[in-house]
């Protein structure tokens, strides 16, 4: 997991991103591209740095360990955001870049510019609105699970090298009855880097590095984390 985060831009979106992520990283920085943004960010209580989009980004390399840095490109203008993304990607191969796009068209450009993950704001809002209408309860529950600090949570647990789970098959572990959690998906590195839903019914062989995505109450999840990380004797 990344240890540092940087947010670019200061507008309603970047303010929300900064508010959500600044407390979960050891190092956090906010970069803006205009004096006006800088003034607003300072007023909102952020430490802020003014940058020029055409700079060579060596400052970032000096300030952060780029390999453990996650960057949020959230400039107000999509064209500038694409330019920022492509500039960062051109300089840092391994940088984790999350870019914000107003719509799908810009999202495609951000992807082409090298963003690892793109958040198209328009599509996100539209999809939540249509989900609210079509599946109101699912939307409500998922919102609580994903974004609210309630008791129910969704987490991903990486199976450690010495874990008791290593060598077992998925169907041998009774997540529901034994741990009171539900396994939603697994990243089985034997099969690829993407996840596979548990409901596909495949009986995966668990290896070190595999990731389990589970949903449950926080205390039960903590118990499962302890169980997964328990050293196999």
């Amino acid at each position: 997991m990344a240890r540092s985060a940087a947010v670019f831009g200061f507008n309603e979106y970047s303010r929300q991103i900064a508010n959500q992520v600044r407390d979960i990283y050891q190092d956090f920085a906010l970069f803006v591209i205009s004096e006006e943004e800088k003034k607003e960010a300072l007023q909102a209580g952020f430490l802020v740095e003014l940058i020029d989009l055409s700079e060579d980004w060596q400052g970032i390399e000096r300030q952060f360990d780029v390999e453990s840095l996650i960057v949020f490109c959230a400039l107000a203008n999509d064209a500038e955001n694409v330019f920022l993304t492509i500039s960062l990607r051109a300089t840092f191969d391994k940088l984790n870049i999350v870019a914000l796009a107003q719509d799908n068209e810009s999202a495609i450009k951000m992807k082409s510019a090298g963003a690892d993950k793109v958040l198209p704001s328009l599509q996100i809002a539209a999809s939540v609105i249509s989900d609210m209408l079509g599946k109101p309860i699912v939307t409500k529950v998922l919102h609580e699970v994903l974004y609210e600090d309630g008791l129910l949570n969704i987490i991903e647990i990486e199976v450690t090298k010495d874990s008791e789970f290593v060598g077992k098959y998925l169907h041998d572990i009774h997540f529901k009855s034994e741990y009171d959690v539900i396994l939603l998906a697994i990243v089985d590195h034997e099969l690829g880097t993407t996840f596979s839903f548990a409901s596909k019914g495949h009986n995966h062989h668990i290896d070190p590095g595999d990731i389990l995505v589970v949903i449950g109450y926080q205390d039960k999840l903590d118990a499962l984390i302890r169980a997964v990380r328990k050293v196999h004797v």
């Binding site: 609105i129 994903l146 974004y147």
Partner: protein, 519 residues
């Protein structure tokens, strides 16, 4: 004495529910275009008219059976007569006129004037009788009164009755009526030209033995045929003076036709938007259940795109004509009206209880959304209201305006960024579930009381075990979510289970759950 009796009877009619219902129903079926059964009445009358004209044409050369003639002359005519009388009945309310007159006289300490009330009633009824459509109706009944062969031509007036029943024909008349002044001016010009040229050609040609134009009627016939650019050529002037008149009439004729055409085309062009709007309102009023979206923007387009995938009908209210046009070009039901105005809902005849599933407010400011929400809440307290929230600080205000659910895109992006940063795989899993990428879906199954045993049995059925995950049950009464409930959980009517599985497996689970219940 008579006056008192009439007033008592008027009050009786006014308060008699059966009489009022019968009159309302008759009015609706005859005159109210929005009454759902009126179209069946109109279609029946159109069928009778077509049949009637067919009989007239057929009997020109062939003998018709007496049954058919009786049907045409008496049955159809009797139906039209009844219709005519009913229209006259519903045209005005006699009981109300009498009561108004009585109350007015009572207020002024005067004796009730029955004659004044009768005068008002007759005035109103004559208004109806002298209206163009009522005259046509009356003439269409004529064959019933006269069996003379000449008068059978009156059947053709029945064709004119089509204007009553076919909306498009009425629209045509209203379009032409909007250019009444221009058309009358042009008509007057044509009339003067016809009269002047008829007289001139008569004067120039009638005395010439070689000329085919010998009478005033022939010169009038020649003028009409020439000015309207038909020019049969059966009669032509032969004198140089007559030919000079012909040249002037021909030039005037071209002007009359071209001006006439341009006036009609302009009328259609000007009314095109109104016609389209009227048609759109009509289409929307025929829709079943739909989502009502207030405000058109790029976000609306995205929401519409998703709702359409779920085969839902959507109606958009947008006050900006340019935006409304843009939305119309996307093939959507768009009404160019202000969603915040009460007048809009009267004009568009949107029926909240019968038609609207939910209202989605997607206008470009919280101010506009609050205003629209208050308008809608004034009309309907229960309809689910969803809104975009532009500024988080306005959340409470939107809630006070009666909005049930709000979506703030900025907050959402913030939450997502946090989840992507620390739980990227979990985020992707949920995203894939929501969008059903890869065929796995998260869905709701509505449960019924007494279903607990069946429900939990099915979950461990070999078809679903390890392949369908039940996350939990949402208890509607308590409004709480019970995660991973035990098999002895008591399900209540309306509770909702949230399950994760392949889409077809979810559907099969739902089917089996309800099929078992049937047994």
């Amino acid at each position: 004495m008579l006056g008192q009796w009439v007033v008592t009877f008027a009050f009786f009619l006014h308060s008699c529910a059966n009489y009022r219902n019968a009159k309302n129903f008759t009015y609706n079926i005859l005159e109210n275009n929005h009454f759902p059964y009126k179209k069946y009445f109109d279609y029946s009358m159109i069928a009778l008219i077509i049949l009637s004209v067919y009989i007239l044409i057929r009997q020109v050369k062939y003998e018709m059976s007496l049954t058919w003639l009786f049907f045409n002359n008496y049955v159809i005519s009797a139906i039209f007569l009844i219709e005519y009388l009913l229209r006259m009945w519903v045209y005005s309310d006699n009981a109300k006129v009498i009561i108004d007159q009585y109350e007015n006289d009572l207020f002024l300490h005067r004796r009730f004037s029955l004659s004044q009330a009768v005068k008002t009633i007759l005035k109103q009824k004559f208004e109806f009788i002298l209206s163009p459509s009522a005259i046509i109706d009356l003439l269409a009944i004529m064959p019933f009164l006269h069996e003379l062969r000449m008068l059978r031509i009156f059947v053709l007036f029945r064709v004119l009755k089509l204007f009553r029943y076919a909306r498009s024909l009425r629209r045509l008349i209203s379009i032409l009526a909007s250019k009444k002044f221009e058309l009358l001016t042009l008509g007057l010009f044509a009339l003067i030209m016809i009269i002047v040229s008829s007289v001139l050609i008569y004067v120039m040609e009638a005395t010439n033995p070689k000329s085919p134009i010998n009478t005033l009627f022939e010169s009038l016939y020649w003028s009409v045929v020439t000015i309207f650019t038909v020019g049969y050529g059966d009669m032509v002037p032969v004198t140089p003076e007559g030919r000079s008149v012909a040249m002037i009439v021909i030039i005037s004729g071209i002007a009359v036709i071209s001006f006439g055409t341009s006036i009609i085309v302009t009328a259609f062009t000007e009314k095109l938007d109104d016609i389209k709007e009227e048609k759109m309102i009509e289409d929307v009023s025929k829709l079943g259940k739909f989502y009502l979206i207030c405000g058109y923007s790029a976000l609306t387009n995205e929401v519409v795109h998703r709702l359409r995938k779920a085969s839902k009908d959507i109606v958009i209210l947008e006050k900006d004509p340019l935006k409304a046009k843009e939305a119309q070009s996307e093939g959507l039901y768009v009404l160019n009206f202000d969603p915040a105005s009460l007048h809009t809902y009267q004009m568009t005849r949107i029926h909240f209880e019968r038609q609207v599933i939910a209202v989605i407010l997607l206008e470009e400011s919280d101010v506009a959304n609050i205003y629209t929400a208050l308008t809608i809440r004034e009309l309907n307290k229960k309809i689910p209201l969803h809104s975009i929230l532009h500024k988080p600080e306005n959340r409470k205000k939107l809630s006070m305006a009666g909005i049930d659910e709000m979506v703030n895109p900025h907050e959402l992006v913030g939450f997502m960024s946090k989840k992507i940063s620390n739980q990227p795989v979990a985020f992707e899993v949920i995203h894939a579930l929501r969008s059903e990428h890869g065929g796995t879906a998260i869905d709701e199954i509505i449960l019924d009381s007494g279903m607990s045993k069946r429900f939990f049995e099915l979950l461990v059925h070999p078809l679903f075990h390890q392949r369908l995950s039940m996350l939990g049950i949402y208890q509607v009464n308590e409004q709480s979510f019970v995660f991973n409930p035990a098999a002895n959980f008591h399900i209540q009517a309306g509770d909702v289970a949230i399950v994760v599985a392949n889409r077809s497996l979810v559907n099969e689970f739902r089917n089996l759950l309800h099929r078992k219940k049937g047994k």
